[in-house]
Symmetry: C2
Subunit: 419 residues, 2 copies
């Protein structure tokens, strides 16, 4: 099938702030045997797109924005069509016409980091919608290392799931999931969840010698988790957290969901209303002062874990303040502050464990897609202020979309490149 | 048994630097039913004692130094002698004449943090040898919350273990062990050790849904660990690391043991010579430039974990430089620098996970004592430059001991309060 020669795209231009333009460019072509060309069915607009828009990320050449897409494969490089031992199965399996989602970075699935489960640090990793790789806000996009990068959607998806709900999979849902998983899976939280004292909980690694037996009692097993930041990623983190705890059959826990902006809290409450009441009952949605007060009153010196899903110093300091000694900060916020707001002494004094960085989206896909499908009543709604995806607009209206999203008049926006 | 009225002690005085004095004070008495008085058989001099000595920790009143002891119980408060349901067993069991070691902080074993395994952040925790609790460099010491704090040594210890070797248990051996355990037990290292991709390795917490199966291959399972700092704690970390890996039957690994000071590297080599050759063969002892070069050449973008056992900015930055993306920094160094030398962007970019702070010594005791006894040929030697405890001197010579230890003319020093 010959593709049209022109490709409508959204580009950001350097020189002045917020210079977003809808333009015509040549349609991308296969440049490497591992490439795929994807027809973009819907493309997301994400908080991370705003970094360059707001002048926080310098660049010198215009580039195509966006890193969230659901698409349909329209062309495949020559590496596809045969299974090769040791290569990702998708090289043998992917066909023109297949529906796919893509993480916000490409990744090969063939390097050390991809194999051990950290594809966001793949040695071939490039960020879509950056100066290094044209983005997803386009009618067509080229996907490098496509057999490693893409995730093939199950052929039979529930009929009640709009296409654009899969937009959540490229970034914000796996990132929220990762933030929650990273916190709950840390050994310093395990005594609370599993009722076994440290260092006994490390028994998987260290054969247990002369242990004195656990001393954990029932009242120790009240898990406290704070979520700092209730933007789209924070809300995904909240839903993932509750889902993980339900699945792991954790009964006694409390979640402090914190954001200073009333509209963000209102949105979180609207989403919570769609969760099971027995899940939502564990959550309080709070502003910063309320959170400090409640956490002080209700926990033994702080939360076991804090998810930092903001990306500024005040959020990191709040995460620290809400944390108990030997607690865990799971930080997915993108930080631009030149200096870290905590120092070695403060980190030592509270025995802080913290994890930072980019979600390994490709590795999280199976969990995220499963979550999206199982929790589609909560996550997959589109349109209106009570939905995660607040509106789908024609990509031709991208300039307005960026403006309204940037000023928080609109929540999460999805572009339709074909409307 | 009536105790003598005077107690010879080592005190540090404020006002000028390094003002160490051997003095006579009243012998401590039981102040609380949970107290014990311990006759100090040997007391250690530790790097942490030097913080105040060097003027890095302000204080206004003289206090008794030291936080490492092996001792014999000489008096017990009224809480002892009866087993009370829910209280630590030692309240029922400990007797005058028993040999004990103590962690560098007291802890109750009865609060939330003690029960979950983090006694160094016990709500009753006080540091021995600080303005808040008289230390161990004395003939007699008062141990608060003694049923929680003390560790009863097994009645039959190998005859070839000198008393002073147990000095290692109060601080440096558990701290080194903790540094190693915290690194190896982190989920981001687990794919290497267990051969299972992330996030599958989190399966203990998250029921496994729709996983794509592990992609880890044999050549991914080369564990690389750096130890930054080969002071007494670093050497204990090295021995513990090798022991844990042996016990866990990990075969393919490489340890980069790093210190800029030749004498420290020589000591590490001397200790390594006492390990099994097949263990020592995994280790290279290197200066900073050699370490950077080797790690760059031999690993995929860095070590899986780095133990930071120094406590300054250069060590933290080196730990970062030696680390692979999604690697783990286990930091036990005490940091006094006002600003953290890494920032949110650098931490994000490498997906750093890091843990900081004080070792939960009391919880590590069973593992540390077991290690000390099993590895007594390596750890328990006393005297000479090839031993961890380099010399035992009369406590009356403490002034010289501090001087020589501070200037690194002597390695680890132990005081005999009765010589
Ligand atoms: N690590 C990753 O892979 C990854 C992926 C996607 C997004 N991100 C980052 O995650 C962060 C969140 O993304 P988003 O799209 O939800 O952003 P967003 O800007 O829409 O939401 C951030 C929220 O944090 C709130 N906030 C600000 N200061 C706060 C404070 N001190 N305490 C509590 N809340 C505070 C804001 O009111 C806002 O609602 C961003 O930094 C984004 O760049 C990271
Ligand atoms: N977390 C805890 O519970 C705990 C317990 C005991 C000691 N400590 C701390 O652990 C640290 C180590 O204790 P120690 O007694 O072994 O100290 P030490 O001062 O004897 O040893 C530190 C070593 O680090 C080396 N070093 C300095 N800069 C370095 C760099 N950039 N790279 C590599 N090596 C470097 C020095 O040459 C020295 O050999 C100290 O900060 C101490 O206060 C912490
Ligand atoms: Zn995004
Ligand atoms: Zn890769
Ligand atoms: Zn010490
Ligand atoms: Zn306690």
């Amino acid at each position: 099938m010959a593709l049209p020669q022109t490709n409508t795209v959204v580009r950001i231009h350097p020189g002045k702030l917020a210079d977003i333009r809808v333009e015509q460019l040549p349609t991308p072509t296969i440049e490497h045997p591992d490439d795929a060309i994807v027809k973009v069915l819907k493309a997301g607009l994400c908080g991370s797109d705003l970094h360059a828009y707001r002048g926080l990320e310098p660049f010198t050449e215009p580039y195509i924005c966006g890193h969230e897409l659901i698409g349909e494969v329209v062309a495949l490089g020559s590496a596809f069509g045969q299974e090769v031992e040791g290569r990702p199965a998708l090289y043998g399996k992917l066909k023109v016409g297949d529906k796919v989602v893509s993480p916000f970075t490409c990744s090969c699935e063939e390097c050390h980091f991809c194999r051990i489960g950290f594809p966001s640090r793949c040695v071939h990793s490039l960020l879509f919608g950056s100066p290094y790789l044209p983005g997803a806000q386009a009618q067509y996009a080229r996907i490098p290392k496509a057999g490693g990068t893409l995730f093939l959607l199950p052929p039979s998806l529930p009929a009640d799931m709009p296409e654009e709900s899969f937009m959540l999979c490229g970034d914000i849902l796996p990132t929220g999931y990762f933030a929650a998983l990273q916190a709950l899976g840390h050994p310093n939280v395990a005594p609370i969840i599993r009722g076994e004292s440290y260092p006994g909980v490390m028994g998987a690694i260290v054969p247990r010698v002369q242990e004195e037996g656990t001393r954990v009692i029932k009242e120790d097993q009240k898990l406290g988790v704070a979520i700092v930041g209730l933007g789209p990623v924070g809300i995904c983190g909240l839903v993932a957290l509750l889902d993980i705890l339900s699945q792991a059959n954790v009964q006694t826990y409390k979640v402090y969901a914190v954001d200073p902006v009333p509209a963000r809290r209102a949105k979180a409450l609207a989403i919570l209303k769609k969760m099971k009441p027995e899940e939502a009952a564990h959550v309080e949605v709070l502003d910063i002062e309320e959170a400090k007060e409640k956490v002080t009153k209700e926990t033994v010196k702080g939360c076991d874990a804090v998810l930092e899903i903001v990306g500024n110093d005040s959020a990191l300091v709040l995460a620290y303040d809400l944390l108990r000694p030997f607690g865990v900060i799971s930080s997915v916020g993108v930080h631009t502050s030149p200096q870290f707001p905590l120092n070695g002494d403060t980190l030592y004094t509270k025995n802080v464990s913290a994890s930072f960085g980019r979600c390994p989206v490709r590795a999280m896909f199976p969990l995220a897609v499963d979550l999206l499908v199982r929790r589609r009543d909560v996550l997959a709604g589109v349109g209106g202020e009570e939905a995660l995806v607040e509106r789908v607009i024609p990509m031709s209206e991208a300039v307005e979309g960026y403006e309204k999203f940037d000023s928080r008049v609109w929540g999460k926006v999805v572009f339709d490149p074909w409307a």
